[in-house]
């Protein structure tokens, strides 16, 4: 939960106190829980009543029994007092529990919607938005909104109602005296709110400094060899000391503001009481005020002032929630660039697709830069195509177009004659299983990483797939076999093992079309042989489109397609291309000179 080091920009901006447009939309999420909401709204008045009634009961007991000395009915009052205490306890407990529950329910719904929406967004979106910010949307922003519900909104309504009713009560008792009190109120409220806001800013700055210290310490620990090798201990101490000192100084400010806030409201209420004594004394001299009303006023001042402190805190909660809502809704409103076809447009692929692929006049580029232009490529069912070419020739874009990770600007891509943009994304991507250069491993067991949490893929199938690729060899040697948990991103596996797992994943999902971007990371000789065998088996009975980096893959392909500067420049079998004396022949001569025949 470590906060991002440079989170002091967008994330800490305050929103308005209340934004009607945002709130209206947000209430849509609260609607399914409106019964609980109603329940939450009636609890505060009950609690307030039971609290207010207690002094009255004591008052009655004193006047009727303690002063007179007769005890008839005294026990009834005692019972009433006990009852009120219990009621206050129960409503107090229910009030916070129900609020917390409402906050959690509303936010669970919103979170799941946000996450589901994130999954529909395309690669270009992820390239634009840093993952830390997106994680913050779903985790932290949602939390801020939940805070608004559980700690702010409902209690805020209660507080405001309480303030209004006390003020009305005072006005009824003595309009002139209340006017005097109410004139002083805005100044007190203003100062309390300003101090609270300032406190928030200071506290956030403190959190930020703390995060920076943690980041520094983490970096120093991770780079401990470098710190030692270059004798940087003194330097590190100076740098860290600077942050630590700034944190210490910031703490002084926040300590002061906290103490000030605490004392200010207290002192202000005493001064208002002094003012009541003075003005009330004058009014009493005029015979326009009774002592009873004056005492009631003093009591009312206490009741008025404590919610103010509370309100100031809630004000900032609301502000952070508003800016969080704004960001969250903006994210929800970002449309996915690549979406399912409309039901009317959608064509489901046949249950057993042949795996014929057709690129027709495909052109693709980012902005001004053209990546692929005028690609014409027909791949027959079961054919094995190796795509080769220099870096930046557009090889990986070709496969992105096939499973619709990108969309061409011109031309079309068809599978079994159906344009890919007419096939709903899920069946399309199940049809063309793409394996990237780097196998991304999730936290979880080896089996979960092969089956990717698909309940339809049984453990037997996973094991079978691992046997097919030969991955089972190293998996068996692991402490818990297929159930071994991977450490962070699988960094306890070698490059070769990761590649094998990626291939096993494809076996388990069994797509009719194999799309593979061969890994370039070099592996030891044993893994190399295993990977070669696995690939051989994977291609069996499938149409294969492979961005080839291995000579063996290239040699065993039915056809080699050479891409250069976004165009297909050569195409044919290994032998044909060598004889053509073109780019492939040059590449081949350059790159495989030292390759011993024994490998293939």
């Amino acid at each position: 939960m470590m906060p991002a080091v440079n989170s002091d920009t967008e994330e800490t901006r305050y929103g308005a106190f209340l934004d009607a447009r945002l709130m209206a939309r947000f209430f849509g999420y609260a609607k399914p829980h409106r019964r609980w909401l109603a329940f939450a709204m009636i609890l505060p008045p009950i609690g307030a009543l039971s609290q207010l009634a207690q002094p009255l009961v004591i008052q009655m007991a004193v006047d009727r029994h303690l002063v007179t000395g007769q005890l008839d009915g005294f026990f009834g009052l005692l019972a009433a007092l006990a009852g009120l205490g219990v009621v206050q306890f129960v409503t107090g407990y229910l009030q916070s529990t129900v609020n917390a529950m409402l906050g959690q329910r509303v936010i669970s719904d919103l979170r799941q919607e946000l996450f589901a929406h994130l999954l529909t967004l395309d690669a270009a979106f992820y390239a634009r938005n840093p993952s830390g910010a997106l994680t913050n949307r779903v985790a932290n922003d949602a939390e801020a909104i939940s805070q608004m519900v559980s700690a702010g909104l409902i209690n805020l309504v209660g507080d405001v109602l309480l303030l209004i009713s006390v003020a009305v009560g005072m006005a009824l008792l003595s309009p002139r005296l209340s006017l005097a009190v109410l004139i002083l109120m805005p100044a007190v409220i203003f100062v309390a709110f300003r101090v609270t806001q300032r406190m928030r800013v200071i506290q956030r700055h403190g959190t930020l400094l703390q995060a920076r210290m943690t980041a520094r310490l983490t970096e120093e620990t991770e780079g401990r060899d470098v710190v030692r090798l270059f004798h940087q201990q003194q330097n590190a101490m100076v740098q860290f000391g600077r942050l630590n000192r700034a944190h210490r100084e910031n703490a002084d400010k926040s300590n002061f503001l906290e103490a000030f806030q605490f004392s200010f409201v207290e002192a202000a209420s005493t001064m208002v009481v002094a003012a009541i004594f003075w003005y009330g004394g004058l009014l009493m001299a005029e015979q326009t005020l009774t002592i009873g009303v004056l005492t009631a006023f003093i009591d009312a001042v206490r009741r008025l002032f404590f919610p103010i402190r509370d309100l100031a805190g809630k004000f900032t909660t609301m502000q952070s929630a508003m800016s969080a809502l704004e960001r969250v809704f903006t994210l929800l409103d970002t449309p996915p660039a690549i979406a399912d076809p409309t039901p009317a447009q959608a064509i489901l692929p046949p249950p057993h697709p042949k795996g014929e692929i057709h690129f027709q006049g495909v052109t693709f580029g980012y902005g001004q830069e053209t990546v692929l232009s005028g690609i014409e490529l027909h791949i027959a069912p079961g054919e094995r195509i190796a795509v080769v070419g220099p870096t930046g020739a557009g090889k990986s874009t070709l496969i992105k177009l096939l499973n619709r990770t990108c969309e061409p600007q011109q031309g079309s891509v068809r599978i079994d004659g159906i344009p890919v943009n007419r096939i709903p994304l899920a069946p399309l991507r199940r049809m063309a299983g793409v394996a990237r250069q780097e196998t991304f491993l999730f936290s979880g067991t080896i089996a979960e990483n092969i089956g990717l949490f698909d309940p339809a893929i049984s453990l037997e199938r996973i094991e079978q797939a691992a046997e097919e690729t030969g991955a089972m060899g190293f998996i068996r040697a692991l402490p818990a076999g297929l159930q071994t948990r991977l450490t962070e991103r699988g960094n306890n596996l070698s490059a070769g093992q990761r590649q094998l797992l990626g291939m096993t994943r494809i076996f388990a999902h069994n797509p009719p079309i194999l799309v593979l971007d061969e890994a370039t990371s070099s592996v030891d000789a044993v893994s190399e042989r295993l990977i070669q065998t696995a690939l051989e088996r994977l291609m069996r009975g499938r149409t294969a489109l492979i961005i080839a980096h291995r000579l063996s893959t290239i040699r065993h392909a039915d056809r080699i397609v050479v891409l250069s500067h976004g165009r297909i420049v050569e195409s044919g079998t290994h032998q044909q291309l060598l004889e053509q004396q073109g780019l492939f022949a040059t590449l081949h001569a350059l790159q495989f000179r030292e390759e011993p025949e024994a490998v293939t």
């Binding site: 917390a100 959690q104 993952s131 120093e220 991770e222 002192a267 899920a426 370039t520 980096h549």
Partner: protein, 589 residues
């Protein structure tokens, strides 16, 4: 947590007590200010009572009103002063403890740090040091307040009516117990909530990082299902915490209400019978109200202190650790004279862990100014040898000598000036490239940085960086490719112009041609520098004056590339593997 009661208190506070030494006066002053705060606060209701009495006589109580205003200001002043002073002590202790902890961490070396998790070391400096602060500042405040509240009210209450006092205080143990129990469980549950929140964030982060894999296999539905389960877990944990928290306030109020009930039930009858005055009755209710919150605070602070002690234990674990090298030796002044750079290994054996030896009885001479290659399979001990040579890990006394001096006796400043190593992981700090190169060298000469960049063949690329050498790299700046990072790390080692340069497989992400160029540059720049390198390319090894072939921690063959190729089957095998890898690598580009 569980060792909270195992060792006696004084020894557990050994690292904390010295920090209090200069704070005695501050504590005394803080206590005095707190007493004044409480006294002035208590005076306010009394003045109000007097003022009401005067009003009853139809007089405007001008003096008392003035007194009220003065009291309000004085009370606020004392309260602010006492709180800032006492919390300030806590902050001072926090600051000093964190500085000590950090300095200690810097003095510790690989054998200790390798056993610790980075995240935990960092969280000790943040969370644990913070927990100790709570123990000092708020701890002192709450305990003082509770003491004063009881000291002020108990004599009066007992003097009025001992029996009623006992009865009225009956709910106090309940309040204390509940406060203690609830706060303890709340802390525990808030940890659970934080963990679950961390897990949720981790899940989101991982899903974003692996979004391509999720899309490629159309796994969205299952991922949504998994996310819902994570959300549910967090929600449940948060609710369990909220329910407990919801109990806290009402429980305290209930405690007060029970006391009030007892006072009315018993005291009321006493008043009715004329054994107690009306004023005493009102006073009792007031005193009880004064005791409730300090008691709650006391219960809470006991929990805070327990946590603070546990945190202190974790910090002490680091403060009590020792580096393998005698700090006095390390801090000794550096000799001015430059080294020639001759290295002698004399029956060197080494193990990271006692039961698994890594290097066995190595003896060899590395002449000054030579280029020495270390070859061998993964795990043969090449990197370990470099790490020991660089004194990142301890070698037995006398087994490594540089220019005839035992490695373990060399001052740290001198060693680091003369010997540079480029480790396998090219770690760079997230600051500018220039800062990474120069570090804290007193002579901030751009010239040396530029020269190093040129030698490491990074010059051209740096020119294309948005701000050249001033470009910020790492999380907040641009991301360097693996090859760029390796060359930047190499350049950093070259800036200091060391006599000995140790290179641990630093060209793995650099292509063969660039590697050749860099080695050429290094040779041309200094013919006197001793270079020892681990590498996995045939061409680089061919350049070495001498290659030592390691296998399972022993030197199995030594010689030039050509002789080894003829005489050593292991080297031949390795050579074939390397050539093949190079061909594959070339195709990838």
């Amino acid at each position: 947590m569980k060792n909270a009661t195992t060792s006696p208190a004084p020894s557990r506070l050994r690292h904390l007590l010295p920090l209090f030494a200069g704070q005695k006066r501050a504590f005394a002053l803080g206590f005095a200010l707190l007493a004044l705060t409480n006294a002035s606060a208590a005076a306010i209701p009394y003045v109000m009572k007097l003022a009401t009495e005067e009003l009853m006589l139809r007089k405007v109580p001008h003096t008392l009103i003035l007194a009220l205003v003065v009291l309000a200001i004085v009370n606020a002043f004392f309260r602010i002063r006492s709180r800032t002073l006492i919390f300030g002590i806590g902050r001072d202790v926090e600051f000093a403890l964190r500085s000590r902890y950090h300095a200690k961490l810097l003095s510790l070396d690989a054998p200790f740090l390798d056993q610790e998790k980075t995240g935990e070391l960092a969280s000790r400096a943040a969370a644990d040091v913070g927990a100790v602060r709570m123990f000092v500042g708020p701890g002192f405040l709450q305990i003082s307040n509770a003491l004063m509240a009881y000291a002020a009210t108990m004599p009066v209450m007992l003097g009025l009516d001992p029996l009623l006092t006992l009865l009225a205080l009956a709910p106090i143990p309940l309040v204390l117990g509940v406060s203690r129990l609830l706060t303890r469980r709340m802390y525990r549950l808030s940890r659970v909530v934080a963990d679950r929140f961390g897990a949720l964030s981790g899940f989101i982060q991982e899903s974003i990082a692996g979004i391509a894999a999720i899309h490629a296999h159309a796994r969205e539905t299952d991922w949504n299902r998994r996310f819902a389960a994570e959300t549910e877990e967090l929600s449940r944990a948060a609710l369990r915490h909220a329910r407990l928290q919801s109990l806290f306030g009402p429980m305290v109020v209930l405690g007060g209400a029970i006391g009030g009930f007892i006072i009315l039930a018993h005291g009321g009858r006493e008043v009715a019978a004329g054994r107690l005055t009306m004023g005493d009755f009102v006073a009792f209710s007031g005193y009880l109200a004064m005791l409730i919150w300090p008691t709650v605070g006391f219960g809470w602070i006991l929990t805070v202190m327990q946590r603070g002690l546990a945190a202190l234990d974790r910090i002490s674990g680091v403060l009590d650790a020792h580096p393998f090298l005698d700090p006095a030796v390390a801090a000794a002044p550096a000799a001015e004279k430059r080294w020639t750079g001759a290295i002698t290994l004399d029956h060197l054996s080494f193990a990271f862990r006692p039961d698994t030896p890594v290097l066995h009885d190595l003896s060899l001479e590395i002449p000054a100014g030579s280029l020495t290659g270390l070859a061998g399979r993964i795990g043969s001990g090449k990197s370990a040898l470099l790490q020991v040579l660089a004194r990142l890990h301890p070698a037995p006394a006398g087994t490594i000598r540089i220019d005839g001096r035992d490695l373990n006796t060399l001052p740290e400043a001198e060693l680091r000036r003369e010997l540079a190593m480029v480790p396998q992981e090219s770690f760079l700090f997230s600051s500018t490239l220039l800062q990474n190169l120069l570090l804290d060298r007193p002579d901030p000469s751009h010239f040396r940085a530029r020269e190093a960049i040129r030698l490491a063949d990074l010059e051209e690329e740096v020119q294309r960086f948005p701000q050249g050498l001033e470009t910020l790299i790492g999380e907040r700046g641009i991301t360097l490719s693996g090859g760029q990072r390796q060359r930047a790390a190499l350049a950093r080692a070259l800036v200091g112009n060391p006599s000995i340069l140790l290179l641990d497989d630093v060209f793995s992400h650099v292509d063969a041609r660039t590697e050749a160029r860099i080695l050429e540059n290094l040779r041309a720049a200094s013919r006197h520098r001793t270079v020892v390198m681990v590498c996995h390319r045939v061409a680089a090894l061919q350049r070495a004056d001498r290659i030592h072939l390691l296998d399972q921690g022993r030197i199995v063959a030594s010689g030039t590339h050509d002789t080894l190729l003829e005489t050593s089957p292991l080297y031949r095998d390795l050579h074939n593997t390397m050539s093949r890898a190079e061909a594959l690598e070339a195709l990838a580009r």
